[in-house]
């Protein structure tokens, strides 16, 4: 007996052949896709979904977020970066309590699930609460607490604390071999730490076979300051200190040099591109077309929604494609299909989940989304990949499924108590913003 059969759906499989199947049937058993094709499986199914007028695709993967910052959504827009951080973000973060992280992460997960995201890479504080929120919410999460330290001679409290939290979360939450929860090692950025910390954290990653996550050349200033300080770029510095010797994701990369891109490509580092956030903070536009031309893998992220202000990856897909067309003057740069690839296949690789996520293929997790194409804004459909990349919005999602279980369906959640999230929000906001 199958657990689920999705009948007669348009399936944008994102498989190696790039197949887009009209009238496809997708069979699910024990959380896995067991069949996809135009024939109808013989086995009965406990549940059948009529897929007519719908598109199925792999669930989307957000490879750079700070989920709990949802508490600050729209709190401090239109400021210059340092004012935004020092006068607004940091003072609030100082007041964050562990339970706020859980609440903010769950609020973000509610938004992500409603807009088609099944997995996210999160870098923030209070690892246990981040991980527990993901565990309870039923999504996939690569979670990390980034190493920061400003004293090159000895670790300060922050770095020690991160190391302690890392070891605890490794034992308690990390599920090696494609579990839902994966601990990443993380270094905040070149400019907020120093070589000894980089080597220590790289060693921790290598020893425990963890992915590495790092902010890289997000702003022109940090890139130039590093050149001045070390005579080398941030990418070169991290490269030489072993940070890219395990599977790594480098977020932003707006100001990377040609040689930087070559180093990242050599190490198969994934660039997590955050087009909305990079524009909103005035950081600039990452040279994604150039990166793709060099064979670099580019995935997508939303960054924290205090600089976005949304977790909708459909928006990031469209903007990632549009920006490269606009700045190069060549509308062929970053096609609709490439944008979809970034949000699925590239994301799965970045997270170390390429054997279970990113495509609709038998043997892969049944972690997929359905888009309702009967809405006027999606009609007509000439090419499903164009519909998905350029017309669809997160709000067009009617089903988000993880391992065969519907976590979000037609406005309802099965793992998140949205009323409870909403009702707890008031008190937390009072404490953080009005005290």
């Amino acid at each position: 007996m199958l657990d689920l059969l999705i009948r007669q759906v348009t399936a944008v499989t994102m498989n190696d052949q790039g197949q887009i199947l009209e009238g496809a049937n997708i069979a699910v058993k024990d959380g896995k896709i067991v069949f996809i094709g135009t024939e109808l499986p013989q086995e009965m199914a406990a549940r059948t979904i009529e897929g007519g007028g719908k598109i199925a695709m792999p669930g989307l993967i957000n490879t750079h977020a700070h989920a709990a910052m949802s508490l600050m959504r729209g709190y401090a827009d239109d400021y210059v970066l340092q004012e935004w951080l020092n006068d607004h973000v940091f003072p609030v973060e100082d007041k964050l309590m562990p339970e706020d992280i859980y609440l903010g992460t769950q609020l973000s997960m509610a938004e992500m699930l409603a807009t088609g995201t099944i997995s996210f890479t999160d870098m923030y504080m209070h690892l246990n609460q981040m991980a527990q929120a993901v565990e309870d919410g039923g999504m996939y999460g690569n979670f990390s607490n980034a190493g920061m330290s400003f004293d090159p001679k000895s670790y300060d409290f922050d770095a020690d604390d991160v190391t302690r939290q890392n070891r605890e979360a490794l034992a308690r939450y990390h599920q090696a071999d494609s579990g839902r929860l994966l601990l990443d090692a993380a270094i905040h950025a070149e400019y907020t730490s120093f070589p000894r910390l980089w080597r220590d954290f790289a060693g921790f990653a290598k020893e425990n076979r963890l992915n590495m996550h790092v902010h890289l050349s997000e702003t022109q200033k940090e890139h130039q300051d590093c050149l001045q300080k070390y005579g080398k770029t941030p990418a070169r510095m991290l490269y030489e200190n072993g940070v890219f010797d395990t599977r790594a994701t480098a977020a932003h990369c707006v100001w990377v040099s040609e040689e930087d891109m070559d180093l990242l490509a050599e190490k198969q580092v994934t660039v997590a591109h955050n087009p909305v956030s990079n524009l909103k903070l005035g950081s600039g536009i990452a040279p994604v077309a150039r990166m793709l031309g060099k064979g670099l893998r580019v995935s997508l992220g939303t960054d924290g929604v205090c600089s976005n202000n949304s977790h909708d990856l459909f928006e990031e897909m469209k903007l990632a494609a549009l920006l490269q067309k606009g700045v190069t003057g060549d509308p062929r740069q970053v096609s609709a299909y490439q944008a979809l690839w970034m949000a699925t296949r590239a994301g799965a690789f970045a997270q170390g989940r390429e054997a279970s996520l990113g495509q609709l293929t038998p043997g892969y997790d049944a972690s997929l989304i359905l888009i309702d194409t009967n809405r006027p804004g999606l009609l007509p459909i000439h090419h499903p990949e164009s519909t998905l990349a350029y017309s669809a919005k997160g709000g067009d999602i009617c089903l988000t499924m993880v391992r065969g279980k519907a976590l979000y369906e037609n406005g309802e959640y099965t793992t998140l108590d949205i009323e409870r999230i909403r009702s707890r929000l008031g008190g937390v906001l009072n404490r953080l913003f009005r005290a």
Copy 2:
């Protein structure tokens, strides 16, 4: 007796004082706003809407569209401009029949209403069908059929035909003095016509007190070609031929010079900024921050959805703000509030509707939208204008009202038969794309 009372809503009024009212009551009678404030009107109301958890704002205004091109949504993405036009768009347009214009325009209106747009400026062909679609759909529309002619010595068939259609539509559909339907005079662009046509169409506009609509310096090529041909920019050529002597909207203006911006400002021309389309076609990024600095009025447009592929003005608002921050490196450029202004007040002026649309003020048309802020992606609300400009999506609209009448409410339409639109679409697509 009031027709409608919206109670306890957060009202982003967009009035001259920039008031944002918490717990506002909005009273509607005979299609007009008769009261807005925190007191409760004494008069009873035929209908009451509880506005708790909702934001009210003026309905959005799309100042540059080719609505019937919705039939080609996603038909030809990721091509260079000339290939897109010559090999894909023009061959389909040659097959368009008058009734296709009606259908395509209605499909676009369904999308617009569902995403909070109440009024649009449309330039396309078959004026009568465009106008009839707007008339039946209940929206406001400024509609035009653009003058084009490639023979400087004598009008060709196209220009004559446009003139004939203009005179017919003027008599039949144009409702002077803030009617729902307004005929605009339109010149397609400098590069598709010549001075005699510009002067004739400008004269027609002046004689009949119509607005003028024109594409201006959308691509670098057309701008440079004009300089080569006449030794002057397109803006200068049109200026000298009287095209801006009536109220005018110039769409795109990606490549305008400093002097062009001064000319446009002098004539109070509104620039209809189309950020999505300009990126998608590889045209570039209009210098909007510079324009605003010169006191130019900038409104928003989606262009046709064959180069977008969406009519969602929330997307244009956000992108208009983001792009200027990103390209100037200054996150203070184009604030959330300025983005809202573009889509409301600037749009109302562009269309000649500034006395009836663009703000929630007693005496203005009750043409407003309600946004449901209980969705996870909109929580929390620190500043309503940030929520609207940066977090809200067209899909968060729960009510779109024109002159006190709900045209769209919670997924249902009152003037459009969405099933009929969908069912007619199949046959039309077969004829246009598969014959």
